[in-house]
Symmetry: C2
Subunit: 516 residues, 2 copies
């Protein structure tokens, strides 16, 4: 009996010391990566600035190719076997390979290099001319010229430009992680592949074609997606799913030409009135979707998923204060729960003008842009079907092409719906070995628990990697949550870049050791 305990004791001791040695080694390597970064801060930022200077709206094909070639060049300079993957009509994807001698697993690192369209008049500075500020623009932040940046660069300062966060800086973090490992002769322990997409913000219309055309090349045991923001507490975050997305532009019609509201108002159909009634019927003020059968397709959460949400820090009060809110949609449910539900969001609304510029006129048309966030097992097709059935029930006649006057003369309540194709949601199980390994490595880097969420509220075409390639997919974001992504004054907090470099370096060096 005693002997058995002794043997167990020895086994435990050996095991513990191996674990300890392992952790010590990890810490040693992390320190080396950090030191490398500290010695190269301005060079790293310089490269990010150059990258951000290239406009990157997916539809701007000249510039989008410039981005791709810029990235290709970054990969090649790091001795990564790299090339552009092409599909006609799409921005190229940038692909690279870096084998790890003796490694059993292959990890694909994904970033998208395109950005959301910009409305420059709303920006405090040109979205394509990156600037550093010591505080936020509305807090009176000063622009700091690059040459005047102190060293070390204060971690709370930010760089402002389209895609500063979403999603160019993670790409720079990956490159710097490689540089830091190489400079310190720290080996990677998994084979690395890179896939950098050029039209994610345009809804990834060619992603399936890429995955199918380059199916063999793109095989990996797991895709790690370096996109989206970290937790609002600043804690690192791992997501195991993403919501799907679709959207529709809605146009309603009034008279063929604008009419004086006094002479014709309340006789001529008011397109704004039709639009607001249509939109108001889709959801109530509290965000509850009021489209028949809309939530019938929603799969209930698993117990593990529910536990993970409960463990996540509760930020309601903090966020409400930061955002000047005293109420939220969702009847009191917390954010982490709400993003696991389907959502109907109104993105924009335009007809005529308001304020001083408003005219006493009946407009010829009114337009709205509506976004849908999908959760398993919703699909864009099912969403579209249910939304259209709902709109027809309101008495509208739906067309899918902009109607000519003849068509407008034909149908009393006419609505033109232009759907974006979108894609379905996806989830990876929290209980897979790779899921656990990623969580462990991030907790080593951060020396604290990371926030584990079953899904991001955002949308990434994760389902395709699962569906076409059969790969697992996990999201490992690095950028600050208050980055204004998709809006004006998008920015990256410098410290998040520094932390991202360490996180990605740790994953490259540790995954082969921890993932058993």
């Amino acid at each position: 009996m005693a002997r058995r305990f002794a043997v167990s004791g020895i086994i435990i001791a050996v095991f513990a010391s191996v674990l300890y040695a392992d952790a010590l080694l990890a810490q040693f390597r992390l320190d080396a990566v950090r030191k490398y970064r500290q010695q190269h801060e301005k060079a790293i930022l310089q490269q990010l600035v150059e990258f951000l200077r290239i406009p990157n709206v997916a539809s701007d094909s000249v510039n989008i190719w410039k981005n791709a070639n810029f990235i290709l060049d970054m990969l090649k300079r790091r001795n990564i076997q790299a090339r552009l993957l092409t599909i006609p009509g799409s921005p190229p994807a940038v692909y690279g390979e870096l084998p790890a001698p003796g490694a059993k697993r292959t990890v694909m690192l994904y970033v998208h290099y395109d950005g959301q369209p910009v409305n420059p008049v709303q920006w405090a500075s040109d979205p394509w001319k990156p600037v550093f500020r010591d505080r936020l623009p509305h807090e009176g932040g000063r622009v700091i010229p690059f040459d005047s940046l102190p060293e070390p660069v204060p971690g709370d300062w930010r760089i402002y430009a389209r895609s500063a966060s979403d999603d160019k800086s993670p790409l720079i973090a990956l490159m710097t992680a490689l540089d830091a490992l190489q400079a310190n002769r720290i080996p990677i322990t998994v084979n690395l592949k890179f896939f950098f997409e050029g039209e994610e913000e345009a809804g990834s219309p060619h992603m399936r074609a890429f995955l199918e055309k380059y199916k063999d090349l793109l095989q990996a045991d797991v895709w790690l997606l370096c996109d989206g923001p970290v937790h609002q507490t600043g804690k690192k975050l791992v997501y195991f799913g993403a919501r799907g997305i679709t959207g529709v532009d809605v146009t309603t019609y009034g008279p063929a030409r604008p009419l004086h509201s006094g002479h014709y108002g309340n006789w001529a159909p008011n397109p704004i009135s039709q639009l607001v009634h249509l939109l108001a019927s889709l959801r109530d003020i509290d965000g509850k979707v009021t489209i028949d059968g809309y939530i019938d397709d929603v799969r209930p959460l698993t117990d593990t998923e529910r536990q993970a949400i409960q463990k996540a820090p509760n930020l309601e009060q903090h966020l409400k204060n930061e955002l000047a809110l005293t109420w939220t949609e969702g009847q009191g449910r917390r954010l982490e729960e709400l993003i696991l539900l389907p959502a109907v969001n109104f993105k924009g609304l335009v007809s005529g003008q308001v304020g001083e510029k408003a005219r006493n006129a009946i407009q010829t048309e009114a337009k709205a842009s509506v976004g849908f966030r999908l959760v398993p097992d919703q699909t864009p097709e099912k969403v579209r079907e249910r939304v259209e059935a709902h709109i027809r029930k309101l008495g509208f006649h739906i067309v899918h092409e902009a109607p000519d006057l003849e068509t407008r003369r034909k149908y009393p309540k006419l609505v033109y719906l232009r759907w974006e194709k979108g894609y379905p949601p996806a989830r990876t199980s929290l209980d897979l070995p790779v899921s656990k390994a990623v969580i462990q490595i991030l907790e080593e880097v951060r020396k604290e628990p990371v926030v584990v969420l079953p899904s991001t509220g955002g949308s990434i075409p994760m389902y395709l990697f699962q569906e076409v390639l059969g790969s697992e997919v996990i999201l490992v974001p690095m950028v600050n949550h208050d980055n204004n992504q998709h809006a004006e004054n998008e920015n990256l907090r410098i410290q998040n870049l520094w932390d991202g470099i360490e996180m990605y370096a740790a994953l490259m060096a540790r995954l082969g050791e921890v993932w058993r």
Copy 2:
């Protein structure tokens, strides 16, 4: 018995011949006016072009004064005793007097010289650079340089500029009518006064102050308002009332900064959702006002008014075809009836962007501009009271100043209402001698029945002339109905200018004879 018949016969014959002579004389004078116009077409248009070149938004004080001085100069060159009337903070009003020796009645001629704000990007050409076109811009109309205009200028061609119709061309018609009468030595038979307002399109905020300050100067037996379009058939039209007006800019609030719709949507309050629910609650798709008690203040029509409406040409099918409509608001009631009812019109709506520019973001605010048209006995105060009670019942907290973040943190559903002051409606009786005289003279000019309507659907601060001065008020419009007033590509059909000259000349020369 026979003698009595004979005497009656003689009396009738004498009476008839006097009437006939009277009509003959009228026709003779009308021919002289027309001939004058035919000999001066390009000079008349030249003066209109110069006038239209001066931007005339009421808030643009530099240019609005230029307009006033331009008009002052036109009056003085016609030996009219003229001056600028001023009220601090207001564009000046231009006033003039032209006495008719021996005349018993005084007629005030009113025009407003300011115009609606413009959104130049929506115009086919610069709104402040008048151009002539042979057809409408969307029908491929060519721009005809002034020097290439044929003579006679084709009556169906149009001149395009802000205020071409609303309301600068009536002012040129009045000046030309005076020129034509003077050139032919045709005397005016009523004392004429002129009052040209400079902020009608801004809601006439200082009209009461003008009338009160210059009460003695502005006395007249009747005010004839030369504003608004003629009937859609092209028939001349006399209005005996105008709707009142008020309006409100509505702003709803989301988070303090724009948020990613995936990460925060359906948690962060969507300002567009709040706005569309608020707006949709004000009226249904068919235009029925759904604000509690809103129509309680509406005075029923008199029999004479109801008869006049019934006699008006029915244009429903024609207009629907022209405007590419197959339905109208108002549950099948005709236009002439609907403009005698109160109306709620949505003028504009702005939040975020739509189409290619739409971003997946939750906006910080959403704005709408709502217009109200009032009929007797509604008042702006009563409308505002009922609308605010309605909005409060929806659960909104109303503020009347743009809220700061502290206020936004305090109230769950916050709405900022910025009311325009507006003014009440007014009506003049159809049965007054002056009403009948005006109708008779217009029918002499046109040689056909004119359309008589109890009220225009538009708004002019008629009530003030009645309330402050005790004057009767009648509207005698001249411009084409399809003039795009208040919108882009505002225009005047040249023939309407020619007809307007004849109409105003006839009123000046005949009113003293016919009004008994």
